[in-house]
Symmetry: C2
Subunit: 417 residues, 2 copies
């Protein structure tokens, strides 16, 4: 096999551990120098490939690359950019091939979620479709945990841990205040279509916290919901609510879209949490507090799950090992063997089976009343938040790395996106 | 000195480290059994004293009390309840004395902020005013950091660390996404009157993050603010905004009070963060994300500052030592000796100088443009977030203690609040 360079890019919303996968890819490529030359990273994801804006990762020290393992966000920049199909935009694919040729790139590692798996799948077909030999391997990443086949997605375990820890801590707080003040605490979490992240809030029920979860999978029923909250407050003195941003009414309208307008009549983009909190105040009169975790949850490397960090690295490493073995159009996966003790192995899936398939919460992970998680769900989630993997600190703050990100010299004319 | 029991209560909004102070009080009292008998905690703060709802902390194991050091929230319950003056409600003070007499209480430890210091001061006057011998010592606690004389307040260092870490992590995230997606991130933090917590977000500027802070101390100027955000986005590609919940217009109206109404015309309680975010979207068109940390920030024991935890414990310990020495109407303080290396000693303040005095950010802690912190402020804040003090974990979650909270048998008739 002639020695070729590799292209690596980060795609979509970043996570606390996507850089751990980058670390796995780059460190493993460096160990396979007989097969893989340099690793070029796309600046801002696939856009970097299309605009020939490549980063030469060989300019980074071993220490800097190792530090990616404990640094959240996308060290090379990510993007939200979905490539069209080959038929709809052949120009883009031809440009990709030009860039690959110009820089002797034979390996394409794409680190992302569902849309990115689809892009990676399309690139993996270029050998056949356009005669350019490329091995495209997808490295799974998404806090939404919605990729099929793999038991879980890197990024999810850490956001799940963050939400479980935060829900526990805020619940302890509201419990302390409930006698004379706040009785209801609402935390809004990510997950527009799938309730995996919201489900993680349910892990605190083990510690006697009365928690009500609003999943995107369950149509919102205001009467039932208010009754459940009231029951909890009357029984326990307080109630915690975890609401998914994707929670919606039977007609599909999100809770966050309340037609809220400011004093000037402008539509306001609010969150689901204040809507739920105000609803409780109006109907039950309980004093509330609410939080919207937003980026804090997916960037929270300081409380990342050790299991998640390890798997993110392993999947990056496995992707390169698959490439070295000559594989194309695949994605390394986490294959669970047992829940307790938690055992898994790294498996492999064909990209054709991954692209454009969304994995939702199984129905039997949600309790019959629609507001909680089942024991089956708890057994699934529990191992994913196991272990702490603290970053090093300097002056009281995590010592995250910012790479030099040295550009590779361009060889081609400009390309307009 | 005849042996007397002690009363301890937690007051106002709880913090990540108020239980560390409780731990300091109880462990030190247990070491002074020749002087102090039992420590009775008020269930839900001072309300527990008035209603004779006392918790016998001697029923808790040494391990459980030790675990308070790493457990956030108020283990005995807190309350928002301000006692009126002796003239306005003599009945309440007479009741307090009845309860103290019935349970042989000679020491009153009150763990709270400004309002609580005032209550503690009133109680400290009871010996003179009503002839009941009591030593009242205040243990400082407030995330707002607004108590006078003491260099800082337990609770603040940990919330400052949480906000600095979260702002750093979310800024790394938005920086990764800025090319094609989110360019502005807004985080709303606590602090209705004083901008200490918001200032902590400014610590990330050291790491090259373009951060704009909206303090309650600085009247909001929309034109100047938008220009500053635009300048940052144009220069750095992104911008982070830390907005204090207390940020307001020149006429005193809070940003959060936008007269926002839902589809039915009901007034909506929103946060300042979505208001700021929508303002930027409308004027500059930048895609945004926003978070409201709310209780997550003050409950975040998982990322508490080691300095803060240590000081919280020390001040609880010092309060008991002051009592043993026969002091009344005082509050132990943190007295800073130097910034770098950080050195301090535990001092003492008279409660008459503490009660009803609010400490604001010094003017020279805020940059001239009103959007950042000065080097002087950085030097003040930096030591307070130093060090990590991780709680133990069990099954992936912090192993926080819930006490038995065994009630002391009542001896008096009921008292209506």
């Amino acid at each position: 096999m002639a020695k070729k360079n590799a292209f690596y890019a980060q795609s979509g919303g970043v996570t606390a551990v996507i850089n751990a996968s980058a670390c796995g890819v780059i460190e493993t490529a460096r160990k396979n120098k007989d097969v893989i030359g340099k690793v070029y990273a796309g600046r801002n994801g696939i856009i970097g490939a299309l605009t020939e804006d490549l980063i030469d990762t060989s300019k980074e020290s071993a220490a800097a690359i190792a530090a990616l393992r404990h640094t959240p966000s996308g060290a090379f920049g990510s993007c939200r950019f979905k490539m069209k199909s080959l038929e709809d935009n052949k120009l883009q694919y031809e440009r990709l091939i030009e860039v690959f040729k110009a820089h002797n790139i034979g390996y394409f590692f794409y680190n992302g979620g569902g849309d990115s798996a689809d892009t990676c799948f399309k690139v993996s077909q270029l050998s056949e479709a356009m005669g350019y030999p490329i091995q495209a391997i997808h490295v799974p990443k998404t806090v939404d945990n919605d990729l099929p086949i793999t038991d879980c997605c890197p990024g999810f375990g850490s956001v799940a841990k963050y939400i479980a820890v935060s829900t526990l801590e805020a619940s302890f707080d509201v419990k302390s205040m409930a006698k004379t003040s706040t009785k209801v605490f609402v935390i809004e979490v990510m997950g527009r279509h799938a309730g995996w992240i919201a489900a993680a809030g349910g892990l605190v029920a083990d510690q006697g916290i009365p928690v009500v979860i609003l999943f995107p999978e369950v149509e919102f029923d205001q009467v039932k919901f208010l009754a459940k909250v009231d029951e909890n407050v009357k029984k326990h003195g307080f109630c915690t609510i975890v609401v998914s941003e994707g929670c919606h009414y039977p007609d599909g309208k999100f809770l966050a879209e309340q037609g809220t307008r400011d004093a000037f009549g402008h539509a306001q983009l609010g969150g689901a949490a204040p809507v739920v909190a105000n609803m409780i105040k109006d109907a039950l009169g309980y004093k509330f507090h609410w939080a919207v975790a937003d980026y804090l949850q997916r960037a929270a490397r300081h409380i990342a799950s050790k299991t998640d960090v390890k798997q993110a690295y392993q999947l990056g490493k496995a992707a390169v090992e698959l490439a070295v073995k000559g594989r194309n159009s695949v994605m390394p996966t986490v294959h669970r063997i047992s829940d307790e003790p938690y055992k898994y192995k790294i498996g492999v899936a064909d990209l054709k089976d991954v692209a454009n398939v969304e994995k939702f919460m199984p129905k039997d992970f949600i309790t019959k009343d629609g507001f909680g998680i089942t024991e089956k769900c708890r057994r699934y989630l529990a191992p994913l938040i196991q272990g702490e993997d603290y970053p090093p600190y300097k002056n009281g703050l995590p010592d995250y790395v910012t790479l030099k990100n040295v550009a590779v010299e361009k060889k081609l004319p400009e390309f307009k996106l």
